[in-house]
Amino acid sequence: MVLSTAEKSYIYDSLAGENSTRTDSRKNNEFRPLKAVCSFVPNCNGSSRVYNPDGIECITSVKAKVIRTKELSDLINVDVDVEGQRDNSTLCLSLSAMIQRALVNNFDFEVLRLTDKYYFQLYVDILVLSVPGDFKNSSYTLYSLLSLISMGTYLALKSAKLPLLTSTTNDREIEEEPSFADDWELATDLIPAESKFQPMLIFVVGLVGSNVLVDPSLDEEEVLESGLCIGYCQGNIVAPIQSVALSTADGKAFNRKLLTKALETVKQIGQPVVEALESILNTEVDEYGSFF
């Protein structure tokens, strides 16, 4: 997006002041409307689609595979594919690495344990679709998709179902390959309802003046002084906390107070977002229903 100097200074002034007004008249801690559905890809264990009215869309799938391993960090593989970007572009690779690290660090590997030797290995594939033309000029701004992607991952993981294990869970003495029930009706949730564990979420906030903006829009990104991505998991702030280049404009330094404010904001919005996502999960999906 190309804004004139006058436009930029107007947006900056309206955002940075004491009583900030955002370009789309949202509150500082308000998201743009988002819609989501899950479990609509039949040959995946879990899937989700999160999209906003602009048309940006993030399709996430979770596929599980039984492997025999001792190395827990191998159990989660993340692959991000952004439309119009090459597979090995810096953006795709860094997004994949970031999500993967964040997931591995905050994952309850007990849910993946099958037996003493066998685990489920998860492949999380993320596809970002219909990227607006404005984004193609600068790959930096695409980092703002991070929160969308993490919500997609959350939904896909929570909606994932695994076949019921019928063989014994104790195979320390007896060598046995795990076997599963054929009936999908018996499938269990990857993350059981009673489990306290929740996958982490990543929020992207923009810093401008003394204000923290949640989910900055394209034109707001142009004038932001800095961008932060902050992990949130089960009510706590978790890694990664890092500054990201949200616009092509160079990021400026920010003071400690603002960082604390940003963390506070994320703590506040975390719970409502989780609740909203949970309500989507509870909506039944008709197998042949309309998802679009």
């Binding site: 039949p42 040959n43 995946c44 048309g55 399709i59 594939d125 219909s130």
Partner: protein, 246 residues
């Protein structure tokens, strides 16, 4: 070779269909009203394909630099997204997969004859296909999805192009194959224009006795006509809704 009985002596296929039955066909248009000029979603059995069409426009975003616009018609560019999770076994495909490249060329040439070219000189039309799940009939799904998305984008076509795959089990032709059947049997995908018997595209990659071809094609044409009706119905429903809104 196969452990499964693909066609039982009672005349039932693995998924319980008879030889001349289509899979459940669902389609929708205008699924992404803000993301593209035309969009569609096609579901044939467990195969799900999404298609977004942008255009006609002066500059195509997908066009390679230096491609000249054609004074006699639009320049079509086609991009296929086949994410690793779409097939049953997770498999990552390179961007320049030869098979997908070939399919995209076939589809491009197919629709260059279906779009009313003279209305779109010096323009670019971008077609973006995304496979969500694939259970056989890749080319057929693509073809149907593009037809619907082009209609939704308001691009004038001479007629619908509907496509379906037909396979041969021993002596019996089977309509609209799923992935299990496609793996073991040879099949041909055909695309038909409107209600005619005219073939716009045919693609057969496996060995097939020549004397059976005629039966396969005639069964395929019937299937295509049925799909065309279903697509037409959906387009009219969507059109009706549009009228009500105004």
């Amino acid at each position: 070779m196969s452990r499964l009985e693909l066609y039982s002596p009672e005349g039932l296929r693995v998924d319980g269909r008879r030889w001349n039955e289509l899979r459940r066909f669902e389609c929708q248009i205008n699924t992404h009203p803000n993301a593209a000029d035309g969009s569609s979603y096609v579901q044939q059995g467990n195969s799900k394909v999404l298609c977004l069409v942008k255009g006609p426009m002066e500059h195509g975003a997908n066009l390679a630099a230096g491609t000249k616009l054609d004074p006699n018609g639009p320049v079509l560019s086609l991009n296929i997204n086949y994410p690793p999770f779409a097939s049953n076994e997770r498999k990552k495909r390179p961007k320049n997969d030869r098979r997908l490249q070939e399919i995209s060329i076939i589809l491009k040439r197919c629709f260059m004859k279906t779009i009313v070219l003279k209305n779109y000189s010096r323009t670019a039309i971008d077609i973006n296909l995304t496979v969500l799940a694939m259970d056989g009939g890749l080319l057929a799904c693509f073809c149907n999805a593009i037809t619907l998305a082009l209609i939704d984008a308001g691009i004038s076509l001479y007629d619908y192009v509907s496509a379906v795959s037909v396979g041969l089990y021993d002596q019996t032709p089977l309509l609209d194959m799923n992935a299990l059947e496609e793996n073991d049997l040879s099949f041909v995908t055909i695309g038909v224009v409107g209600d005619s018997d005219k073939l716009n595209l045919t693609l057969c990659e496996d060995k097939l006795p020549l004397d059976k071809l005629e039966r396969l094609i005639s069964l395929g044409i019937e299937g295509c006509h049925r799909l065309k009706e279903l697509m037409d119905l959906q387009v009219r429903v969507a059109g009706g809704q549009l009228q009500e809104r105004q």
